[in-house]
């Protein structure tokens, strides 16, 4: 019997066993589905959050807010001075009037708040564009720290600071997801192993006949390995399918919601989805191999006679 003939026979036998003992197999399949779903969900959420972080990183700026009612020549002089700082590509002056207009455009319903107050309510500011928006060199940090101390400056706002905190949160989220997923996957491997061992026990009469007529170990164990593989594969497919459905549902139901944008804007890449399914199959196969490693898979004469 060729290797491929044997594989075909194993998977046929395994499929029959799965169908016949579906209740027991369902436990193993659901366990692996849950573990891969949890791991996959964390991967999906952290992936989307990271994508958001990346998007924001390209847009982030450093804004130096000046004291109110500052004369325009002074503002321009400060802008020129700021533009000579390390890593700074450009400085845009936003006057108090321009700041008010921006506010009114961004929040039309709140535009009354800044109308009729006499003096301009918002301070002028200097928006810094960096040569490399993602990097904060020590020289730049020291330069900005110096500006924070200057009397003309009321505040220096750096998007990078909160973005850095968000990145830390995402990293923690990913680590927790990974740990939880691995823990659940180990549990799933044990469950599949137990199910396979139980199946082998239930088929011990047939195994003894196979041994008697001259089946090799490979032929005897093959269907059980195939069964573990199939259980894991089905679990992986289910987990990926549920994740995809959930993600698609969120995008369909409320495409513009912040939660959708943050957590489900994009589904896993085809490679990640395939890896999730493959991980399930590999876990199932490993569970089957590990559970039968020390088993002789046969019955004694006394057991057979019972």
């Amino acid at each position: 019997m060729s290797f491929f003939q044997a594989l075909r026979a194993f998977f046929r036998e395994a499929a029959v066993n799965l169908a016949r003992g579906w209740k027991v197999s369902l436990v193993a399949i659901l366990t692996i589905t849950v573990s891969l779903f949890v791991g996959g969900a964390f991967l999906l959420v952290s992936g989307n959050l990271l994508a958001s972080v990346e998007r924001w990183r390209g847009e982030m700026r450093i804004v130096v807010y000046l004291q109110p009612a500052m004369a325009e020549p002074v503002v321009r002089q400060l802008a020129a001075e700021l533009g000579r700082g390390p890593g700074i590509a450009a400085v845009q002056v936003v006057s108090a009037e321009a700041a008010r207009q921006r506010f009114q455009e961004a929040f039309p319903s709140l535009s009354d708040l800044v109308e009729g107050m006499g003096d301009e309510p918002l301070p002028p500011s200097l928006e810094i564009a960096l040569a490399d928006p993602a990097r904060r060199t020590p020289e730049l940090r020291a330069f900005l720290a110096g500006w924070r101390q200057r009397p003309e400056v009321s505040m220096v706002d750096d998007d990078r600071e909160w973005l850095g905190q968000l990145e830390t949160v995402v990293a923690v989220l990913r680590a927790v997801g990974l740990a939880l997923g691995v823990g659940l996957l180990v549990a799933a491997v044990f469950t599949i192993g137990s199910v396979i061992r139980l199946t082998a026990y239930l088929h011990s009469d047939e195994i003894s006949i196979l041994r008697l007529v001259g089946a090799t170990e490979f032929y005897i164990r093959g269907p059980f390995y195939a069964e573990g593989f199939l259980q894991g594969l089905i679990g992986g497919l289910l987990a990926t399918g549920i994740l995809w459905s959930g993600s698609a549902f969120l995008r369909f139901r409320s495409p513009d919601a912040l939660l959708t944008q943050l957590f489900a804007a994009e589904f896993l890449t085809p490679g990640e989805a395939a890896a999730l399914v493959g991980l399930g199959a590999a876990a199932g196969l490993f569970g089957a191999i590990a559970s039968l490693r020390r088993e002789r898979l046969t019955v004694t004469e006394e057991q057979a006679a019972e």
């Binding site: 003939q5 009469d205 041994r211 007529v213 001259g214 089946a215 090799t216 004469e301």
Partner: protein, 253 residues
Amino acid sequence: MIQFFQVTKRYPGGQTALDRVSFDIARGQFVFLTGASGAGKTSLLRLIFREDVPSEGQILVNGRNVSSIPPQKIPYLRRTIGVVFQDFRLIPRKTVFENVTYLPRILGTDLTSQKKLAYQALRRVGLAHRLNAFPLELSGGEQQRVAIARALINEPEILIADEPTGNLDPDLSWEILRLFLEVNLRGTTVLLATHDREMIQRVGRRVLTLDAGRLILDQELPGSDPPRLDLTPPEAFENDPAAARETAEEAAE
């Protein structure tokens, strides 16, 4: 064909199942192995198909020393030996066809050839018309005949039977014995363990007698074959071989 040289088998508890047993069975012989319960018949048979290894001595089967065969080669030895047990050892959830075609499947035989082999083997035991049946739908004698068909499907060189008539009534026992004699006539070496002295006396042949693990007697008895039984398939099948083949194919499907 089967040679035992001073074979001793001791179990871990200290019980001696076989004590310095020596004999030689030639190719094509029909040999009864007899003795009271616990005399060591089953232990001896288990050594031949390497279900167990001797504590001392050597066993040659077809010129191969079975005690020194590496584990991965044992299946190849067993493919040359058919084994039949008292309790039939059929798998109740499998059909007769599935039960008899284990070895062809292992060997990667295609389905068409499996059908042909199953049909031929079951025809020899008169059960070609029961391919689709499940073992529990068959009588004890029919189940044993299926077990024999399973042992015969690949034309083994040796057929070993451990009390094959132990669970059957006398009429069915004769029927089964007749089958073994017919198999032997085709050149297969048969070693049949039984404690049925009447059967042995009537049929004759060579008899090895064990007592408390020792071979106490190796004698050739005169006798006559039991009356031939009609094991041909039902008339409908005999008149219509195509119908029989269709039944075999349906069972295979």
